[in-house]
């Protein structure tokens, strides 16, 4: 029977199947961070259990860590400090792979995993973080889990799972200039809604997906969760193999050849069954921004703030509440919305390519907003950006050049919006209070965020005047 990529990875990891279809699924990589793991390690300790596969467990602090240079002096916030210190202690006690705050390889867990070659095609990858979907870009089955499940994976290296349905999201044709992976993933959510993928694993395919870099593919898969899906996947190809090869934890020599032989079989078969299919034409995707407080509240930058009454059902009330929270009036042109802050970073858009895209717009220009910051996704991304001269472009433009972490994507560290402040952000969630109580978030691509930084308002990247010579 023809199988999807998801079917193949699933089948290769079933340890045990009950008569009702409940499966025990083997986990190849378990990523751990400081916020969702303390109670799980404590659970092990109380039950006298150990970590079954410490060599397959990778821990890194990212959510709480300050991104200012003074962080080497310690974390000021006592609760944040305790969480990071607890991870330090647990990593040591249980003997898992660890990248502490001061390690240059430290960064956002979903950037560190691929960067270090922990994430490989055909793997099962989990983490106590919903954006684990990012790793699907490698053709790995990757999804977020809760803390009880973190404890379960630590103790057993397995997860109790029922199989999800198969959903295909095809993007045909090539992206027009100025349109990026972020615009694809937001447009898909705009088309299907934040619950459109619920109960499904999405495989993204089509020419526009194939033409994306690995960085772009990670951006697309990262937001599968915002579309409600359990995971997002992209079949591995030569770009994937080229990206993986030579990374510290990637296979080498004869093992590389054996791995490659299997990886090249990891694609959906002709005639495989799809429970749901969504097709978008790349030519019709525009640079987009969000206007509300759900990632599905997305529109082309050429649009206007919608009238809540134009929706139906529960969405009418939700849209009214969103506009009230966002301080917006129906009918306002999106490009007339003025912003105070720009945030470039996160597991969605904190990779080197994202920084290059933003720097290209910013070169030789100055920001027209109160505050703008770039938070590289890892210490290695930061080092590379410095080497390529990108850091200087950001600094010259007026951006703050920060150390790696989750930062203002979820504002658990000191990087937060003040009430009423409006931010152009490259992150993944525009929920109420996400970037700070009362803060207002508009999601967009790195290039669009850079353009907004220059003009002080939401801006169509395609309309931006050419750079000064």
């Amino acid at each position: 029977m023809p199988k999807t990529l998801y079917d193949k990875i699933w089948d290769a990891h079933v340890v045990h199947e009950d008569s009702d279809g409940t499966c025990l699924l083997y986990i190849d990589r378990h990523l751990v961070h400081e916020v969702t793991s303390p109670q799980a390690f404590e659970g092990l300790r109380l039950a006298g259990r150990t970590v079954r596969a410490p060599d397959k467990t990778i821990a890194v602090p990212d959510h709480n860590v300050p991104t200012t240079p003074d962080r080497e002096n310690g974390i000021e916030n006592p609760e944040s400090r305790i969480q990071v210190e607890t991870l330090d202690r647990n990593a040591q006690e249980f003997g898992v792979n660890y990248y502490p705050v001061h390690d240059v390889r430290q960064g956002i867990v979903h950037i560190v995993g691929p960067e270090q070659g922990w994430t490989l095609p055909g793997m099962t990858v989990v983490c106590g973080d919903s954006h684990t979907a990012t790793h699907g870009a490698f053709g790995a089955l990757a999804h977020g889990i809760g803390t009880s499940e973190v404890e379960h994976v630590l103790a057993t290296q397995t997860l109790i799972q029922k199989k999800s349905k198969n959903m295909k999201v095809e993007i045909t044709g090539s992206l027009p200039p100025g349109v990026t992976a972020k615009d694809i993933t937001l447009s898909v959510i705009g088309a299907t809604g934040t619950a459109g993928g619920t109960g499904h694993v999405i495989e993204y395919c089509g020419q526009a997906i194939e033409e994306l870099s690995m960085e772009g593919r990670m951006t697309v898969c990262n937001m599968a969760i915002e579309g409600g899906a359990r995971a997002g996947l992209i079949a591995p190809d030569q770009k994937t193999f080229d990206y993986v090869k030579g990374r510290p934890h990637a296979p080498k020599g004869a093992q590389w050849d054996a791995a490659l032989a299997w990886w090249t079989t990891l694609k959906s078969d002709e005639g495989a069954h799809w429970d749901k299919v969504v097709t978008l034409k790349a030519e019709e995707i525009a640079p987009v921004v969000t206007w509300g407080t759900s990632p599905e509240d997305v529109l082309p930058i050429t649009g206007h703030v919608p009238d809540p009454e134009s929706f139906s059902g529960g969405k009418v009330g939700a849209a009214r509440r969103a506009l009230d929270y966002m301080g917006l009036q129906p009918g306002t042109r999106l490009t007339d919305i003025e912003i105070d802050t720009v945030f470039i970073g996160s597991c969605t858009n904190g990779r080197i390519e994202d920084l290059r895209a933003a720097a290209e717009i910013l070169k030789g220009r100055k920001i027209a907003v109160k505050r703008a910051m770039v938070v590289p996704g890892s210490g290695l991304v930061r080092a590379q950006a410095e080497e390529e001269g990108l850091a200087q472009i950001f600094i010259d433009a007026g951006f703050e050049w920060r150390l790696a972490g989750c930062s203002m994507c979820l504002a658990m560290n000191p990087d937060q919006l003040a009430p009423g402040e409006r931010c152009a952000a490259t992150s993944n969630r525009n929920f109420e209070g996400r970037q700070g109580r009362g803060g207002r978030t508009h999601l967009m691509s790195p290039a669009m965020a850079a353009a907004a930084a220059i003009t002080g308002r939401l801006t169509d990247i395609r309309e931006l005047a050419p750079q000064p010579a």
Partner: protein, 201 residues
């Protein structure tokens, strides 16, 4: 884990769609290393004003709902992050069951690990129970897991679906890790076979 068998109680109405985990428990309260003590910050930004005073209009601040054990709400409840702090905070308040047309996947799974029952019913049935919830103490809702039914205040019975394994664990308060460790020989066998087939992992 605490068992869940049946429950009759007051339900709090929250007729919003897409209530996300940042609303349920904002991130600044995730800095704990414990599972308990989250109740005071449940729905923090909806529940308190900037000075930290209770907002009287918010449903869980109203006298009728301070003891609510059930939440009736809109579609896609619990969307957003994987934080188990969301069900922990709800459980800490005393919420043992939720009734909605749909849930976000991770939140839904997290509830069961904490002895909570998230029930999926069609929108028209949720609407009936939402009306009950609006009546507070005057319209108690009854949930029975064994028979997989919800009974409205005026006796309408709605059947719901639940995966048999999950139901079994919930009825008996079974701990997943303990159950899985009974299959340790199957895990060993899988690991050995996988080490041959995919030695690079």
């Amino acid at each position: 884990m605490e068992k869940f068998t049946n429950l009759t109680g007051v339900a709090a109405p929250m007729p919003l769609v897409n209530i996300d985990t940042d609303m349920i428990i904002p991130k600044q309260f995730l800095k704990t290393v414990q599972r308990t003590g989250l109740v005071k910050n449940l729905f923090d930004e909806m529940r308190y004003d900037d000075q930290g005073n209770e907002i009287p209009d918010f449903v869980l601040n109203q006298p009728a709902y301070r003891q609510a054990q059930i939440l009736v709400t809109g579609e896609n409840f619990g969307c957003g992050s994987s934080r188990e702090h969301a069900p922990w905070a709800l459980a800490d308040f005393g919420i043992r069951a939720i009734i909605a047309p749909s849930y976000a996947d991770i939140f839904y799974n997290n509830c069961f690990k904490n002895g909570m029952l998230p029930i999926v019913l069609p929108q028209d049935q949720v609407d009936v129970l939402m009306e009950d919830a609006r009546k507070g103490e005057n319209a108690r809702i009854a949930i029975d897991l064994e028979s997989q039914t919800v009974t409205s205040a005026d006796g309408q019975v709605f059947a719901f679906q639940i995966d048999p394994f999950t139901k079994h664990c919930l009825l008996n308060g079974l701990d997943d890790v303990g159950l899985t460790l009974e299959k340790v020989s199957a895990i060993d066998a899988f690991e050995n076979a996988a080490a041959q087939a995919r030695p690079w992992i």
